[in-house]
Subunit: 338 residues, 3 copies
């Protein structure tokens, strides 16, 4: 479809010889045109939610297996719904984490599912690189979607965030975007930064206490680091809040939830320095009173629930692209479905 950045090891793994998506593991290595193509395609799926019959037959007869090594009902549900809207059959597999201790056993599990003609694995795993590992070892007819791996990447979340930003702001190139919170442990933040940069956003800021910022962040990610929330959100168009994992409390990364909220929790007052039409985003689930005040979460600038709705359309776009239904004509859907 388009030229991907050369010499990126992800390019060879994710794209086929024609530059089309085969797996969806990371946004790193995808070109601007790839991202725009996904966003445009998702646009077409958005209307399906308003149809009487909210289904398209794009993936009819395909088998999509949710391989969730890390439990997440919410994320699994969005993938399951996206698959069902595409008319695929869904297999939810409880993958015992202990079984994956031996790499060999995991490979045998994959081989068996491939032999049953499963068409796609949606993989969630606590270890960074797990989806890449599976993509590297899977059969040619299978696509792998990364639904979050360790601290590494959560590319479908990154894309639904871009979709939501584009819906509200249009052109990316003139935007100022702030990402607030635990960037250090966040796969979501990594995917967002990559996507924003690829789409041409020049002013990307990360705002967090020193303990939650990766070393050399500015040089590595091309972002500006702030340790003060009010200063960081000044004049921004978009504020993206990250979820604070409760288990970080024990790690000594932050003193307490109250203290975190006092310094980095988003309130209407602190949001005052942002642009008047700034939008507020959060990947969910929100810890109310920790990352943000309920008045912000439920307020007029919040687009958090739109993110959820958009997540369905974006996942449908990515899944159908990877599964190879390239020739789909949106206008044929009703005829084919009945």
């Amino acid at each position: 479809m388009t030229c991907a950045p050369p010499n990126n090891p992800n390019t060879a793994l994710q794209l086929d010889a024609h530059g089309r998506l085969r797996h969806f593991l990371t946004l790193d290595g995808l070109s601007r045109a790839h991202l725009i193509d996904i966003l445009d395609r998702a646009e077409g799926f958005l209307g399906i939610a308003r149809q009487a019959i909210k289904k398209v037959p794009l993936c009819r007869g395909k088998i999509i297996a949710n391989l969730f090594f890390e439990n997440s009902t919410r994320t699994r549900t969005t993938f399951e719904l996206a698959a069902k809207r595409l008319s695929a059959d869904v297999l939810n597999l409880n993958v015992n984490t202990s079984a994956t201790a031996k790499g060999e056993t995991l490979l045998d599990t994959l081989r068996n599912l491939e032999a049953m003609h499963v068409d796609m694995f949606v993989v969630r795993h606590a270890d960074s690189g797990a989806a890449h590992f599976i993509a590297r070892h899977t059969a040619a007819h299978v696509s792998v979607i990364n639904a979050g791996d360790g601290r590494h990447s959560h590319p479908t979340q990154g894309m639904l965030d871009m979709f939501t930003i584009r819906q509200h702001k249009g052109d990316f190139t003139r935007l100022k975007v702030a990402i607030v919170g635990d960037v250090l442990h966040s796969r979501v933040a990594r995917s967002q930064i990559t996507a924003l940069t690829t789409l041409g956003v020049e002013d990307v800021r990360i705002i967090a206490p020193r303990t939650l910022i990766p070393a050399h962040a500015e040089a590595t990610f091309g972002v500006t680091v702030y340790h003060d929330l009010r200063a960081g959100v000044r004049d921004v168009d978009v504020v993206i809040m990250l979820r604070l994992q409760r288990e970080r409390m024990d790690g000594g990364f932050i003193p307490s939830e109250q203290e975190y909220f006092r310094l980095f929790g988003l309130t209407e007052k602190r949001l005052a320095t942002a642009k008047p039409d700034a939008i507020v985003m959060h990947p969910g689930p929100i810890n109310r009173g920790v990352e943000m005040d309920s008045r912000v979460a439920d307020g007029p600038r919040s687009v958090i629930l739109e993110q959820v709705s958009n997540g369905l359309a974006v996942r449908m776009a990515i899944m159908s692209l990877c599964i190879g239904a390239h020739n789909f004509n949106m206008n044929q859907q009703d005829a084919a479905d009945e």
Copy 2:
């Protein structure tokens, strides 16, 4: 459709401006015409079980989420089957009871599912009023079905019981109906009494030990109370047995299962005073040898398994009514399905 009793707080919540069912939370506040409409519609669904392809496309593309806060495989299965016969997609969600300790978290869960365009919540909860709470806070496009809340209401069970009675007895107005067992803790009994009264049954009796009868039952429910099984079932057309929750044993409500059976267990002999063509009902699962003798449960008067079959048709009727497929023409079903 028809006039509902005025000034009933349930009316405004359950019915839309045209008097049509939007949610199905309780039978309290529904008119006789509403109940008859459900029974008639269910009649039409009964034949589907005899078709080669036991499906109608009424809810095709709709998403129905089972929100079971209280575990019940049996009830969830009947709703799941009813939804699948209506061609809906079903989402079974394990709702961690602990998560509902905070009302806010439950609301965030609801908001998220609404944003994913879920069309219906089927709610089971140990607390009375939970389904009402959810209906009161849900988005305009979502319907809520109460699949049992605390001691309050189990309206789909009540309706399938009415359907079964009408199948066997026709006209409700001349019937004598006895409800036997733990009325105090039974949401099933509450729904049955409301339905029977609304449908014009004048002689409704409840039969139980004093410890299992609500205070002021006669005045509150318009029923006659009996503490003697043989006297209570004299001349009745219908005997409805309630399930005895085993956990009541510990509560000191009854001395022992054996003692309960000795006084209130239904046997062929005790059934002798009822009308010769009396039918015996039970919502299941039966505690054989506690609520009734196996010879009664499996005998010629038992319609217990018919209740199960009817449950599917009645739930299909209620779900399709609420989901708004008002214009369905039964004769179009085969054409539309292929």
Copy 3:
């Protein structure tokens, strides 16, 4: 269809008055023609995996309930996928083993599912004879498939193994087949021996330590017993490895996994005495380094993953035969599906 061996108690239970499959409980009592019919029908289903839409509408609107009293994600998944390819609706029921302690409760569960118009039970149970028991007590409209009962039978596994052998070897009558491992506890081995014998294989060998061979095996099963792997596989066309249940270690049946592998583990070297084109089979999951070396499992003679693929086609054949879709015309599938 064809004459089954007379006076076999399984015949009356499994076949209808016309000799057609009603249940699929055991291979014992089925004629050669029955088995060939299943294999031929499965052949027709094999191509479905290569279609764009991997579904046929044979069991559309049918409800297939997985009644797994013994946990097995892998086997349940293959039945679930086979059912979905046949366009059936699948119900996965968690059957609490404790609930089956009382036979009466199990029967009440069956009665309820029958009343919900379930069309097929796929039964897995730790007790030998459980599927027979259920078939004997189920309603006339329900078919029962045995997905493994105790040490007794695993007939769908037996048939997929025969399918795989026929694919590679064609005619059964001239074959030499060795079954290696824990024959004593293996329901898989019992089904394989019955199938091989019925299909005309004259040289069936079982190879295992004395502690893992049933008493009087040669007389009972018509096989030759070997206690030496190299001697047992000499000149064979097919080597079927059995899975070693880890829990046997504790039972004192074998000294250790290492010791077992040293004597009965399949290696390339030990396989050298078999025919040059011998195939190696295993029902999975493999204990690598216990039953066989990875070089054999992943080597050119291994057809283990083909067994998995064939399992889908064979289960589709058996399920659709039992569910009574006798008049299906393969050529109509696409027309009917769209």
